[in-house]
């Protein structure tokens, strides 16, 4: 399946400035693997050591938050659009005074 992955600004350094990358993959996990083969290091910016999506990263498939779909196992149809988006936290690191 050919799918489009939208790369957010903080990751474009890895993709040589490319905003949209076309990759092949029947599931989101496969698409991320393929992305990492072409742009080594990008996987580690999105997933943790156990292969789970990092706390401050949100991933959408066709505008749907993958946490409402099947997470990284979400299947991708031909032409699917994957968007990687930073979570927008804005509070502060809690500290005890």
């Amino acid at each position: 399946m050919a799918v489009q992955v939208r790369i957010p600004t903080p990751l474009r350094r890895i993709t040589n400035g490319e905003r949209i990358i076309e990759v092949r993959g029947g599931s989101l996990a496969q698409a991320i693997d393929e992305l990492d083969r072409r742009f080594p290091g990008i996987r580690a910016k999105i997933l943790d050591d156990r292969g789970e999506v990092l706390q401050f990263v949100n991933i959408f498939v066709n505008e749907q938050d993958i946490r409402f779909l099947s997470g990284l196992r979400t299947p991708l149809d031909e032409g699917a659009e994957v968007s990687i988006v930073p979570a927008m936290a804005g509070g502060s690191r809690p500290q005890i005074a």
Binding site: R6, P8, R67, V85, M88
Partner: protein, 410 residues
């Protein structure tokens, strides 16, 4: 600017003062780093008390300087002792922070005022936001005052009054087919591609600092001391963590004595992912699809959720939720006992406060501040079905005596 830079809250990476909000290394959120050297105790307190009756009295502790000709003077709203509501709930030292008394009738004027000051610094010409309504009001009004173009993005299905009270300032209002979380994602993508100032996206490190003033003011208004407990309505969780940061900075700067404030978060049951995580004793906030009368809190994927959980647990506070029915009842209770008409978010606050009080989870002697952060007039739909209709009479004494006098208890 008072800010010396930005720092990643997760990995500590430092950045210069720019309109950015995400760490390039770890995706962590960036926050403003200050140089508070030389700011302490009595001299700082004097500077504050001599300052204007607005958030700008705390200018030394905010990331961007006030722009006088753009200023709508938000903040320094009343802190009111709630005797009658306290009596009903069995709480002896209850206060309300009445933040409906702002230029566009919600606390969002505080955060937008600070974002606007940053807009001046960075030289943007378009001010934008993703909003459930109150933020759209504040952005549209502030942009009007500053002569900037405003483009505000809202989800479908907002209260009519919130759309009208935004439109009157003549911004471009864009209704996005979807929930707030969809709007939010879209605005993130827009901020990535276009040089727009999006108040709660690329200006977020600055914008969010404005909410600290809700902590500063309460401490100052209580006579330079922190309360024992605060009860705060929670959507994204930003205001919650920033109010705590406000108390903490005041302590660090020697303006108030060290004191643990029990941080208590109030969510709507129809959008309570943080309350659910709290109840289930987990750190993981699982997003939900919102379905609640409290539309200003209808954020299903709260970015600051983990920080809210951590703070509530570490301070001996709580996270709880109120059903739509409880919210509407609490809106009425607040109106009937304190003469204050809140939007449903304030009903969430009072509903949860009442729940905890009745359950015996709160010491009746605690000094408690409940935050009422938006006005009821913008969400009439929430109460119009439950408010009694007027009694109709003819303009005669007989009609008055027949239909009214008995009701008035004479």
């Amino acid at each position: 600017m008072g800010a010396v830079g930005l720092v990643c809250r997760e990995c500590g990476q430092r950045y210069s003062v720019e309109p950015i909000f995400v760490c390039e290394h770890c995706f962590g959120p960036l926050e403003v780093d200050y140089d508070f050297n030389g700011l302490r105790g009595e001299p700082l307190r004097d500077r504050i008390t001599r300052g204007p009756a607005s958030i700008w009295r705390y200018q030394d502790l905010l990331p961007a300087p006030r722009v006088p000709e753009w200023d709508l003077a938000p903040g320094f709203t009343p802190l009111v002792r709630a005797h009658r509501l306290g009596e009903v709930l069995g709480l002896r030292n209850l206060y309300l922070k009445n933040d409906t008394r702002n230029p566009t009738w919600s606390f969002k004027d505080r955060v937008v005022a600070v974002a606007l000051a940053a807009v001046r610094t960075f030289g943007f010409t378009v001010l934008s936001c993703a909003s459930t309504g109150n933020l759209a009001n504040a952005v549209a009004a502030h942009a009007a005052k500053a002569g900037l173009r405003a483009v505000v993005f809202i989800p479908t299905g907002l209260e009519r009054a919130k759309v009208v009270t935004t439109g009157v300032y003549r911004p471009t209002v864009v209704e996005v087919e979807g929930t707030y979380d969809d709007v939010n994602r879209l605005c993130l993508e827009i901020g990535d591609e276009h040089r727009w100032a999006i108040a709660n996206v690329n200006l977020r490190p600055y914008y969010s600092e404005g909410a600290k003033t809700l902590g500063f003011e309460v401490a100052e208004q209580l006579g330079w001391r922190a309360p024992d407990r605060v009860v705060i309505p929670v959507g994204s969780g930003n205001m919650f963590v920033k109010i705590h940061k406000g108390f903490e900075e005041f302590q660090r700067l020697g303006l108030i004595e060290p004191h643990t404030v029990r941080m208590t978060a109030a969510q709507a049951e129809g959008c309570g992912p943080i309350a659910t995580a709290y109840r289930e004793n987990t750190d993981k906030v699982v997003p939900v699809r919102p379905n609640t009368v409290a539309k200003s809190l209808a954020i299903g994927a709260p970015a600051d959720g983990p920080y809210v959980l951590d703070l509530a647990r570490r301070t001996g506070g709580a996270v709880d939720s109120a059903t739509d029915l409880e919210v509407v009842e609490a809106v009425r209770l607040l109106a009937e006992t304190e003469g204050l008409f809140t939007e449903p978010a304030g009903g969430v606050t009072i509903g949860v406060l009442g729940k905890l009080a009745r359950a015996g989870a709160i010491d009746p002697n605690e000094v408690i501040v409940a935050y009422i952060t938006g006005i009821g007039l913008k969400a009439l739909e929430a109460v119009e079905q439950v408010v009694e209709r007027p009694i109709r009479i003819t303009p005669t004494l007989a009609s008055f005596e027949e239909r009214v006098l008995a009701l008035a208890g004479e």
